[in-house]
């Protein structure tokens, strides 16, 4: 039960203010501004309690979205809603920025009216919303259309309307993963996990029934039971199975079926949707290895050498590689030499940034830097923050593979084979750090 929702710009000026319940007063707007946005110390907790009122906030670039409540709500629900709200806004007008919000404030209020009712989240599916909240002028809808909207919004399948027709039935599947790592200087993995999403874009006619399969360990094992051992089952399916720690699904997935048979079946919404989200922690393929070497030469000099090794099939190419080597706070000058790519000392970020456009698998590259220091009277030692890395690789570091995606449309008579399907894997770096 969200009591109210506020959107602020970076200065703390209120752009959008929508109060759903009487227990939220006008002063709540100011309370959040004073205690969080303008707080002396940076507020890191996403939940702030001020005078028995809870503020849940997320920040998108310079924009603050804050949900306010006086009741004991499910915080995860509120955040899920806030994220959803961001998605909806992005779907409607692109990037969430002060200007965009100011330009679309009527639309935003309209949306807020629709997706929250007396503080209870309602349908926030973009596809469904777009049918009746439009950015273009109001076109007079016929009675039929109106009743269709009503039945769709209130009906069982609120995320898809009937009567969609495409000449070409097409389907795109993206497996997007971000790999997170913390490694010790000696190369020991301290923590690593992959959080991934399966995003689907469908252009299918009618009300298709879909079934999605991947190399989930439990499913594979189950199938394997009929045959020989687990190993054999794994081999038979052609690739390794992966253990998924936890996953969440889009509302269209029939959870009862998933619980019973562990099969993922659904009627997809038209257009783009995030089919599932998952997390794995075992058997992660780490695309890059960072080997740091830091040597302090006296009080005024520091020598840094960093080697990166790519650890995947030589045929694949990693892109947008960026290594960020932090420098001490009293750096007065830096000289860098690198074999490949470009490296530069960025004083404003207190780091050396080394960029490589492309790098094939099983290669290595190195950079060395000399950092001059200014002696200070401060006794504090440099904390040596970890070296971080960004990249993009064309495979899923978790090892996830899409085994099949079957489409059935009993009424319209097009078969699974007629659908054109595309699958793409993208692995990105999350927080990919190596201590030095």
């Amino acid at each position: 039960m969200i009591g109210g929702l506020f959107i602020y710009n970076h200065k703390g000026e209120v752009l959008i203010s929508r109060v759903y319940r009487d227990d939220i007063g006008r002063n709540a707007v100011d309370a959040f501004r004073v205690n969080v946005i303008h707080a002396r110390q940076q507020v890191r907790s996403p939940v702030t309690n001020i005078a028995r009122t809870s503020f849940f906030h997320v920040k998108r670039s310079n924009i603050w979205l804050a949900a306010v409540t006086k009741q004991n709500v499910n915080a995860a629900m509120v955040f899920e809603f806030l994220y959803k709200m961001c998605d909806v806004m992005t779907a409607y007008f692109g990037k969430i920025s002060e200007e965009n919000i100011k330009n679309n404030f009527v639309l935003i209020y309209e949306l807020l009216d629709e997706i929250l009712d007396f503080g209870y989240p309602q349908n926030s599916e973009t596809g469904a919303l777009k049918t009746f909240i439009t950015q273009t002028g109001i076109k007079s809808q016929s009675k039929e259309e109106q009743s269709q909207i009503t039945s769709q919004v209130t009906g069982q399948i609120g995320w898809r309307r009937e009567g969609i027709k495409y000449r070409r039935n097409e389907l795109f599947l993206d497996v997007l993963e971000s790999v997170n790592l913390l490694m010790s200087p000696q190369g020991q993995v301290l923590s690593a996990h992959v959080s991934g999403r399966v995003v689907m874009k469908s252009y299918l006619s009618g009300m298709p029934e879909c079934k999605f399969g991947m190399n989930d360990k439990i499913v594979i094992d189950k199938q394997g039971k009929g045959g020989a051992t687990e190993e054999a089952a794994g081999k038979r399916s052609g690739h390794q199975s992966i253990a998924i720690d936890d996953c969440t699904f889009h509302q269209c997935v029939r959870l009862s079926k998933f619980d019973a048979e562990r099969s993922i079946s659904f009627i997809p919404p038209d257009g783009e949707c995030e089919l599932m989200r998952y997390r794995t922690t075992k058997d992660i393929i780490l695309p890059f290895r960072v080997i740091p070497l830091v040597r302090e030469v006296g009080r005024t000099k520091l020598e840094v050498k960093v080697v990166i090794k790519s650890n995947f099939k030589p045929s694949l190419l990693a892109q947008k590689i960026e290594v960020r080597i932090p420098t001490p706070l009293n750096t007065s000058g830096v000289q860098v030499i690198c074999m490949k790519g470009k490296a530069k000392y960025k004083a404003s970020e207190n780091a050396i940034v080394w960029k490589i456009k492309r790098m094939a698998g099983m290669k290595e590259s190195q950079i060395s830097a000399e950092i001059e220091l200014l002696p200070t009277n401060d006794k504090k030692k440099w904390a040596r923050p970890p070296i971080s890395m960004n990249f993009e690789v064309p495979f899923a570091p978790s090892g996830l593979k899409v085994r099949y995606l079957k489409v059935f449309e009993p009424k319209l008579n097009y078969s699974d084979h007629d659908v054109i399907k595309w699958v793409r894997y993208i692995g990105r770096s999350g927080i990919y750090e190596t201590r030095c």
């Binding site: 970076h10 940076q42 310079n62 706070l329 009293n330 750096t331 007065s332 000058g333 004083a347 404003s348 970020e349 207190n350 001059e372 200014l374 200070t376 009277n377 401060d378 504090k380």
Partner: protein
């Protein structure tokens, strides 16, 4: 900051600042700053020397970054370099950076001091000023140590420029405030006084601030300033507004200087010299006259300046409190302000009037404004002004107008702000009691009070009503009737139910004749409230019911029925259940005679006798606590009568001797108040409180009910706070000062013989903690004054005095404390003690402050005893006995044999002996049971060796254990004193 010339524009700095201002987000700002810092680092690192201009520019940037809230850990050296520049702007930036950024423990401080020294000795007045400003801005101890000697010299030197003198005076003031012990008085002090005669008004203004501060510490040394100040003041006051040119502010001649002069005069008593006094009175009259003149300008600054002087003059008049004529004129002047448009003026007028009301000369004059004040209370929009109005009403109240004022305050209470309600309730309660002529009025008032503001009526208030009703036969019937009527309201406050239950239980019979209030009606009325009340109230009501059984046998069946019901006899609350069971049994078993004896009417509290007792105690203990009435004259004639003093004393007497007239209606199973508020209020509470669970275990006989009336230990409440006039003081207040007996204060002293830290004193308002350290003949004591209330203490002032010959034995220096202590805050005071020679008495600490307008005055003994100056001496057995024999003259020895008051635990004894300050010598005495100690008392005059031997007879029965304590020292007084001190410890 003087305008920077075009060439020195520091474009880079301006660009940087505008970049930062244009940053869209915090992140962007941090990025820009990081970039700039890296740039500056590389510049400072660069091997080629920077020129003064760029050094200045970068230091400026660093300063700006620091002021934005980022850490700066370099650039200090460059800033110090700037100090030695010859350019004004560069030097100025250097000093600015240093006074903002350099902390005192930096190793650069030596370099900085050197640079400052150079500038001070230079002949350039601007450089000297810069250096002085820097010293004042930093104001650290190190700075004071380095320059405290130098600055007075500059200040009084004949050839110093005026502007430098000004700076020097203010700088010295700052140093003195920061570390007064380092600024030594010398021959310069007398010359500082003569700065009051300086030609330059700026110098006078600066000097007078310094003198005011110095003279508040050493009034005698600066006595001469009074006549100088008076003559200066009269010159300003009588001058035409144009005479002072630059120092005339909106047609008012030198307003700041005048205010400061008047304030300086407030540090001293009225001048004795007739001529000076005449001149001063003339000045004050002139100021009052000027206030009557039509304003020379409509500007607000003009009237502000004029009024500032006027108010300062009025507070001087109040301070002198000796010129009836002036007082009355001041009062009339303030009366005009009461209706002024300006809110601030009304506030100030009310505040000043509060103090005027306590002067005997102007009390009557203040009273004439009663209507205006009441009006202010009702119609004023600003809550703080209303508060002052309430204060003033309280202060001006006396017998003649009490009824009116109390009625007004009561009617105001209904609409009063929540924040001041509790205070108002207490004030009404106090006034109603203090000036009650007939007690039915008093009862009416208090019941009204409970009705209007029940939530804010503290326990003490209704305890007090019951005490008074019980003690005065003539109001009992009336009280019972009024309470009965009050209870008939559909919604009563719980406090009302409590009073009702108690009074009907005692005196219900007085109104039982009336059929409308027959016993059964009374009972039903009380019982209808029963279920809405909290547990303590229910317990009280149960006691009232049993009393009903005694008073009205006809209600017995009904009441027994109630007691027997499951909700009583099986109540989950132990106290209620027990009462129900016991009362039920009592009512069914006991014969009417026994019942009548057990449930007899509460006897009146013995007043006369105990008031004498209290007086006696007061005479005995002059040192420990003196509580002053704010206005002495109230004491006798205006007081409502002796009985109130008596009541407070009853409490005291009951506290010490559990009297047989104990509380039959033990109200409270757990007496939470008794332990926590050791004050006059708690003494009252104790009369009603039982001794906790012990009561419940007692049987159904007299003893059980008479479960001892434990008062909080008397030692816990050695102090009773100021009576009457203190806001929080419970209604016993108007009593005469109940100074506690001397033993308590000594006990307090004894508490600190063997330890150096602890809580010295605590009451409802104030807590004093103590921390002390001693070395050789010197000691330093930290006193921590904690304000326990949420209201600030004003004019907080503490003095330490050495009575009698102690003055020549002990040298005590104190640092002044801030006159304002915020609510909940703690202030620290440092006391330096030097032991000149051995001493017996302890110095007295006197604390005065105003709390909500009422003066509080507390005196304590500072726990400084001769043994604090012990230096432990280790020695071997042979050595010890040799010295022991050397000190064999009878007057060198002091011996005491005394009973052990605590157990003879070896470790505890050892700890105490070590705490005494001596060395505990092991394996010296042939008898291992005995303790032997040696130490030297260090005084400035001499060192007194001291040997100690403590012989316990541990084998004896507990209770018969005795000690023999023998002390030998080279000085007879020392032996005796240490022996006395120590004897109390075991």
């Amino acid at each position: 900051m003087p305008a920077v010339s075009k060439g020195d524009g520091m474009r880079g700095l301006a660009v940087f600042i505008s970049d930062i201002r244009n940053c869209k987000s915090k992140e962007a700002e941090i990025k820009r700053i990081n970039k700039e810092l890296a740039n500056i680092r590389s510049k400072f690192k660069g091997d080629k020397a920077l020129d003064g201009y760029s050094k200045k520019k970068y230091v400026c940037k660093l300063l700006f970054i620091f002021l934005l809230g980022h850490d700066i850990d370099f650039g200090h050296m460059e800033a110090v370099n700037l100090l030695s520049s010859n350019k004004y702007t560069e030097k100025q930036i250097g000093y600015l950076f240093i006074s903002v950024l350099v902390n005192s423990n930096s190793e650069l401080i030596r370099l900085i001091n050197n640079a400052i020294k150079n500038d001070l000795s230079s002949r350039n007045p601007t450089f000297m000023c810069l250096a002085l400003h820097c010293i004042a801005n930093v104001g650290s101890r190190e700075m004071a140590e380095a320059f405290a000697g130098e600055i007075p010299r500059i200040l009084v030197a004949g050839d110093t420029m005026d502007s430098v003198k000004q700076s020097a005076a203010l700088c010295l003031l700052r140093l003195y405030k920061a570390s007064p012990d380092l600024v030594l008085m010398g021959e310069w002090t007398s010359r500082v006084v003569h700065l009051l005669n300086d030609q330059h008004m700026g110098v006078v203004t600066a000097a007078i601030s310094l003198i005011t501060c110095l003279s508040s510490k050493n009034p005698d040394e600066f006595k001469t300033c009074v006549s100088l100040a008076v003559s200066r003041l009269s010159r300003i006051v009588s001058s035409a507004s144009t005479d002072l040119q630059d120092y005339t502010y909106y047609f008012v001649p030198a307003p700041w200087l005048s205010c400061k002069l008047l304030r300086l005069l407030q540090c001293y008593p009225p001048p004795e010299d007739g001529a000076v006094k005449g001149r001063l009175v003339e000045c004050l009259e002139t100021i009052l006259n000027k206030a009557q003149e039509p304003p020379k300008s409509k500007k607000v600054q003009h009237s502000n300046a004029k009024n500032a002087i006027l108010f300062e003059a009025i507070s001087l008049i109040i301070h002198y409190d000796s010129e009836p004529n002036l007082l009355v004129r001041a009062c009339n002047q303030l009366g005009q302000f009461l209706q002024h448009r300006e809110t601030n003026l009304r506030y100030l007028a009310l505040e000043s009037m509060c103090t005027l009301a306590s002067s005997e000369f102007s009390h009557e004059a203040v009273k004439t404004h009663i209507e205006t004040v009441i009006n202010a209370l009702k119609t004023e929009r600003d809550v703080s002004v209303r508060q002052r109005a309430a204060d003033l009403l309280y202060a001006m109240c006396d017998r003649s107008n009490a009824k009116q004022i109390v009625a007004e305050m009561l009617s105001y209470l209904e609409t009063a702000d929540y924040s001041i309600r509790e205070e108002m309730v207490l004030k009404v309660a106090i006034l109603a009691e203090k000036y009650a002529v007939d007690y039915s009025w008093y009862v009416d008032t208090i019941l009204n009070l409970i009705r209007i503001a029940g939530d804010y009526v503290s326990e003490e208030v209704w305890y007090r009503v019951i005490q008074i009703v019980i003690n005065r036969d003539d109001v009992q019937g009336y009280a019972a009737k009024t309470v009965f009527e009050a209870l008939q309201a559909p919604a009563c406050h719980e406090n009302m139910v409590k009073v009702g239950g108690y009074i009907l239980g005692e005196f219900g019979n007085l109104i039982a004749g009336d059929p409308r209030s027959s016993p059964l009606v009374q009972f039903n009325l009380l019982h209808s409230k029963f279920h809405l009340c909290s547990v303590p109230t229910r317990a009280l009501l149960l006691s009232a019911y049993i009393k009903f059984i005694n008073l009205f046998p006809e209600t017995k069946a009904t009441i027994q029925e109630v007691l027997r019901s499951d909700s009583q006899i099986r109540n989950s609350d132990v106290e209620l259940q027990q009462r129900a069971v016991e009362y039920l049994k009592l009512s069914s078993i006991a014969s009417t005679d026994v019942l009548a004896t057990v449930l007899e009417e509460m006897p009146p509290f013995p007043e006369r006798e105990s008031s004498i007792l209290a007086k006696l105690k007061k005479k005995k203990g002059p040192g420990a606590v003196t509580v002053e009435l704010e206005d002495g004259k109230e004491r006798g004639e205006l007081n409502g009568g002796g009985d109130r003093g008596g009541d407070a004393a009853i409490a005291a007497s009951n506290a010490s001797t559990p009297s047989p007239s104990a509380d039959l209606l033990g109200l409270r199973s757990t007496a939470p108040v008794s332990g926590t508020t050791p004050s006059a209020g708690s003494l009252l509470v104790d009369v009603f409180s039982e001794a906790g669970p012990s009561a419940t275990s007692a049987g159904v006989n007299d003893d059980g009910f008479l479960s001892a009336l434990h008062a909080p230990e008397a030692s816990d409440s050695p102090l009773v706070e100021g009576p009457g006039d203190s806001d929080s003081a419970p209604p016993t207040v108007a009593s005469e000062d109940p100074a506690p007996p001397l033993p308590e204060s000594d006990e307090l002293l004894n508490k600190f013989v063997c330890k150096n830290n602890g809580v010295l004193f605590e009451n409802q308002l104030l807590q004093i903690g103590i921390k002390s350290e001693y070395r050789q003949n010197l000691g330093r004591m930290y006193l921590f004054y904690g304000n326990k209330t949420s209201v600030q203490f004003v004019s907080f002032n503490t003095t330490v005095s050495c009575p009698g010959e102690l003055q020549s034995q002990l040298n005590v220096q104190t640092k002044t404390v801030e006159p304002l202590v915020e609510g909940g805050a703690q202030v620290q005071q440092v006391i330096n003690i030097e032991c000149l020679t051995d001493f017996i008495d302890a110095p007295l600490l006197n604390i005065k402050f105003r709390y909500g307008g009422a003066l509080q005055n507390i005196s304590l003994k500072l726990p400084v005893t001769i043994n604090k100056f012990f230096q432990p001496t280790e020695m071997a057995a042979a050595d010890f006995f040799q010295r022991w024999k050397q000190l064999s003259q009878p007057q060198q020895e002091a011996q005491k044999i005394f009973k052990a008051s605590h157990g003879m635990d070896t470790e505890v004894l050892k700890a105490k002996l070590l705490g005494l300050g001596t060395a505990l010598l092991e394996n010296v005495d042939p008898n291992p049971e005995n303790y032997v100690c040696a130490g030297v008392i260090q005084t400035k005059a001499q060192q007194v060796g001291c040997l100690l031997r403590l012989e316990p007879n541990a084998q004896a029965q507990p209770g018969e254990q005795m000690y023999r304590l023998t002390l030998r020292s080279s000085k007879d007084t020392v032996s005796q004193r240490v022996c006395d001190l120590l004897a109390e410890q075991f």
